[in-house]
């Protein structure tokens, strides 16, 4: 079956070197559950491609969030040479192989483009402390450790929690939930004291005045200045460094094809996702979810990935999350 696809793909691409195009529906593989940030992004791209007629074949979203996203990675790994599958990846491509010993290496896939960077924000309940300093003081003074909600174990949220502990000296007990949405509602319901959700995951509860952003884990503030709540915009949130807690972390959102696809096939998708980043849907989505726009491809992308991989690896090692 796979051989047949490869054969068909090579036959199709051979005569028309200039323009390879998918000949069957393209699957956009999401390494997370329904409704999560990756799923939302995949649906946005599906809609942007369909509405703007960027591709003749339809695009289908396929959710492979099993085993905390490892399912999607193994699925891509086993799809060598199939140009009809694109993975929407995030930092799990570095972290999962380290923490759970999944036999996966992103270098085996074909990089297409980095399309966005996602921020992390420290949030607490709107009834809780109002600034980072008060929050840290309250966490230190508390009789039992503050509860920090997050997505999954030994992943971005957990790493951030460990570094927050190191920099502030406060203790947290980290509660790994299945999704960022769950972490958000648990914070609203006062079952946890704080979380480190991505902007998109806490957006609605922030707008409803139920949670408060304390600081952004980045070296500069978020650039979007239009009001999100009655009084605040994303740009009004201070960086954690400004508040005296020097912890930074950005998460990539990038597209990958399976390994062993032809350069023409890769070129088609580079072009496709470049066009996607020009659409109104994409721009609107970036602003709404407070994502950092970026478009990297080719050598730049590989260099970025290597550096990012090294950063993540050292963070994971330092946090003690690398499986032996």
């Amino acid at each position: 079956m796979k051989a047949a696809v490869v054969l068909a793909a090579t036959l199709c691409s051979a005569p028309a070197l200039a323009g390879w195009e998918p000949t069957k529906p393209v699957e956009i593989v999401v390494a997370a559950g329904a409704g999560g940030a990756s799923d939302q992004m995949a649906r946005m791209m599906q809609a942007a491609i369909q509405k703007n007629n960027l591709m003749k074949q339809p695009m289908v979203v396929s959710l492979k969030g099993g085993a905390s996203g490892a399912e999607a990675l193994m699925y891509m790994k086993s799809s060598d040479g199939d140009p009809n599958k694109v993975l929407i990846a995030y930092s799990l491509i570095y972290m999962l192989p380290l923490s759970a010993k999944i036999p996966f290496n992103w270098r085996e896939l074909t990089p297409v483009s980095v399309i966005a960077l996602d921020q992390f924000v420290l949030w607490d309940n709107s009834a809780g402390p109002k600034t980072v300093k008060e929050f840290v003081a309250a966490a230190k003074a508390a009789s039992s450790p503050f509860k920090m909600g997050g997505t999954g174990s030994k992943r971005e949220d957990h790493v951030l929690t460990v570094f927050l502990e190191q920099k502030t000296g406060a203790k947290f007990s980290y509660l790994p939930y299945k999704s960022g949405g769950e972490a958000a509602t648990q914070l609203v319901g006062n079952h946890t004291e704080s979380n480190v959700n991505n902007p998109s995951e806490n957006l609605e509860v922030w707008r409803a005045g139920q949670v408060r952003p304390l600081c952004v884990f980045d070296k500069e503030r978020i650039s979007y200045t239009s009001k999100v709540t009655d009084t605040q915009s994303w740009a009004d949130i201070p960086t954690c460094k400004e508040e005296g807690v020097d912890v930074q972390y950005l998460m990539l959102r990038a597209m990958f094809l399976p390994g062993k696809v032809t350069p023409e096939q890769q070129a088609f998708y580079v072009d496709l996702f470049h066009k996607v980043t020009q659409t109104a849907e994409y721009k609107d989505y970036m602003e709404k979810q407070a994502l950092k726009p970026i478009f990297l491809t080719g050598k730049d992308m590989v260099q970025f990935l290597e550096e990012d991989d090294a950063t993540n690896k050292s963070l994971m090692t330092e946090a003690g999350f690398v499986a032996k």
Binding site: G33, A34, G35, D39, Q40, R43, M44, Q46, A47, Q50, K51, P58, V60, V61, S62, L63, K64, G66, A67, S68, A70, E71, M74, S78, S99, A100, K101, I102, P103, S144, K147, G152, S153, K154, R155, H158, S173, Y174, L175, P176, Y177, K178, G181, E182, A184, T185, Q186, V188, G189, H191, L203, E204, V205, R207, A208, Q210, F321, A323
Partner: protein
């Protein structure tokens, strides 16, 4: 009566030809999707979601939610006719629905299922209409200990109130819990029991197991016993429908109890499955002759269907109000909402009145139209039973295989399904009940996560399960139910002694 005015406004949004046509299309597609085992609501909605990208949000949600209602109605059809539950919450419907079909009362069972679905949904929609703001704040009260208490209650009610031998129920449940542990463990981030296999990474999908355990094993049993799926030419007509309806008032307690359980568990996310089992068990517990359950009793269809649909419908409320999907289908609808540019959350009810109330109005209308539609097609579905077994069996096996494959597009799942078919066959032969096994497989993971999160939060102190009135009462109730046979016996003896005393005087 602000809600009433808003609801009328919703109907006004809805009553256009275009929306009504979309509604019919959605319902027919939904029933079709529901009838195919394993395909089910979530897949159906996922496949059809892209169709709605170019529609306005209200039309889109009306069509998709009608697919959902259609699939809910359709799911009961395979449960009753072939003992293959289309969705997790249809499992309990098979207990009495399938025996009824075997006795030639398929039409009656189908009518009962559809009617009680309708009643369950209606109660839940009424609840959503009038209590929406209050309920969404109630759902926020649920942290890990509360979730665990609810799951514990479900497990305990099964052991305590089940009709099977207790040790067999416990064996079956433990095996289910064991298999639920396969795959990634969220709390520690480690893989468990995958033995280096990439296929086992995903864990064991509940629906794959159910299709095998119920569907394939049933085919095996029928083959062995050389029983044809009995081709009773049951007279299916308006008369059957009317006679079932005439008897409805007799079961008002069951219907009301199940609606209540359903609504209550529906707004605590993830409750639809628990609701159907609990509805069934409680109906059995309070019946005068519990032994007749499982042998084709109509109440055994009313109870789980009402609870499941009350819960399935009320599960949309936390999705809209909080953005937590209560079921797989709700999760995909949630994805749809975001594509249409709406963000579910506390502000949705304020900022998008047209959409929310249009959706709620479509719940009323969709259920009424759906009920009429399925009832008029009952004869067609029931006539499937008249086709010779030799012709139907291969078709069922093939559609089971397609269903199992479609859930995750994995060939491995088909082998898994066949394996579970054999397990189901053996279990039935040695009298181990399948229901606790499937229940544990569905809720095992969530219960484990909830328990461990509670323990992390309380630094290992079990008192957290009695830390407030809500969680304390659920936990206590769970433990009471677990030891119910003992307590019941003690109460009985006490009563007997009291009666005996005056007699001896």
């Amino acid at each position: 009566m602000e809600a009433f005015g808003l609801l009328l406004h919703g109907f006004a949004v809805l009553l256009t030809w275009k929306t009504l046509v979309l509604m019919m299309v959605g319902l027919v597609l939904g029933i079709f999707v529901g009838v195919l085992p394993g395909l089910g609501g979530p897949n159906g909605v996922a496949i059809l979601l892209p169709l709605t990208f170019t529609m306005d949000p209200t039309s889109a949600i009306v069509m998709l939610s009608c697919i959902y209602w259609g699939a809910l109605f359709g799911g009961a059809i395979t449960s009753i006719l072939f003992n293959i539950p289309g969705e997790a919450w249809s499992v309990a419907t098979t207990f009495d629905g399938y025996p009824m079909a075997q006795q030639g009362r398929a039409a009656e069972a189908l009518t009962a299922a559809f009617t009680s679905s309708f009643i369950g949904s209606l109660v839940a929609v009424l609840l959503i209409t009038f209590l929406a703001p209050m309920i969404s704040s109630f759902a926020l009260k649920f942290g890990p200990p509360e979730f665990f208490a609810v799951y514990l209650l479900t497990f305990c009610s099964f052991v305590g109130l089940g009709r099977e031998a207790k040790h067999k129920t416990v064996i079956s449940m433990s095996l289910g819990l064991l298999l639920a542990g396969v795959g990634m463990d969220t709390v520690s981030g480690q893989l468990r029991m995958t033995f280096g296999s990439a296929e086992l990474l995903r864990g064991i999908n509940f629906l794959v197991a159910v299709i095998g355990l119920f569907g394939i094993s049933e085919i095996l049993l029928t083959m062995e016993e050389r029983l044809a799926l009995r081709g009773h030419a049951a007279s299916i007509s308006l008369r059957v429908v009317l006679s079932v309806w005439k008897d409805l008032p007799k079961y008002w307690v069951t219907l009301l109890r199940s609606s209540f359980i359903g609504c209550w568990l529906g707004i605590t996310p993830g409750g639809a499955i628990a609701a159907s089992f609990m509805g069934y068990n409680l109906a059995k517990r309070f019946a005068k002759d519990p032994e007749s359950f499982g042998k084709g009793r109509i109440e055994g269809v009313f109870a789980p269907e009402t609870a499941a649909h009350a819960s399935g419908t009320s599960a949309l409320l936390p999705m809209l109000a909080l953005g937590i999907p209560g079921s797989g289908t709700a999760a995909i609808l949630l994805g749809g909402l975001m594509v249409w540019g709406l963000n579910p959350g506390p502000l949705l009810f304020v900022e998008h009145k047209d959409f929310v109330w249009g959706l709620i109005a479509s719940m009323y209308l969709g259920n009424v139209v759906g009920l009429v539609l399925v009832l008029t097609t009952v004869p067609i579905f029931a006539s499937i039973l008249r086709v010779p077994f030799a012709a139907v069996a291969p078709m069922i096996v093939v559609s089971c295989a397609i269903g199992a494959y479609a859930i995750q597009n994995a060939m491995f799942d088909i082998w898994l399904m066949l394996g579970f078919g054999v397990v189901g066959y053996v279990f039935k032969k040695i009298g181990i009940p399948l229901a606790p096994f499937t229940l544990a497989l569905v809720l095992g993971n969530r219960a484990e996560d909830a328990f461990r999160l509670s323990m992390i939060g309380s630094s290992g102190n079990l008192k957290v399960f009695w830390s407030n009135g809500l969680v304390g009462s659920i936990t206590t109730l769970a433990i009471l139910l677990l030891f119910w046979p003992v307590i019941d016996g003690l109460l009985g003896r006490a009563g007997w002694m009291r009666r005996a005393k005056p007699a001896s005087n």
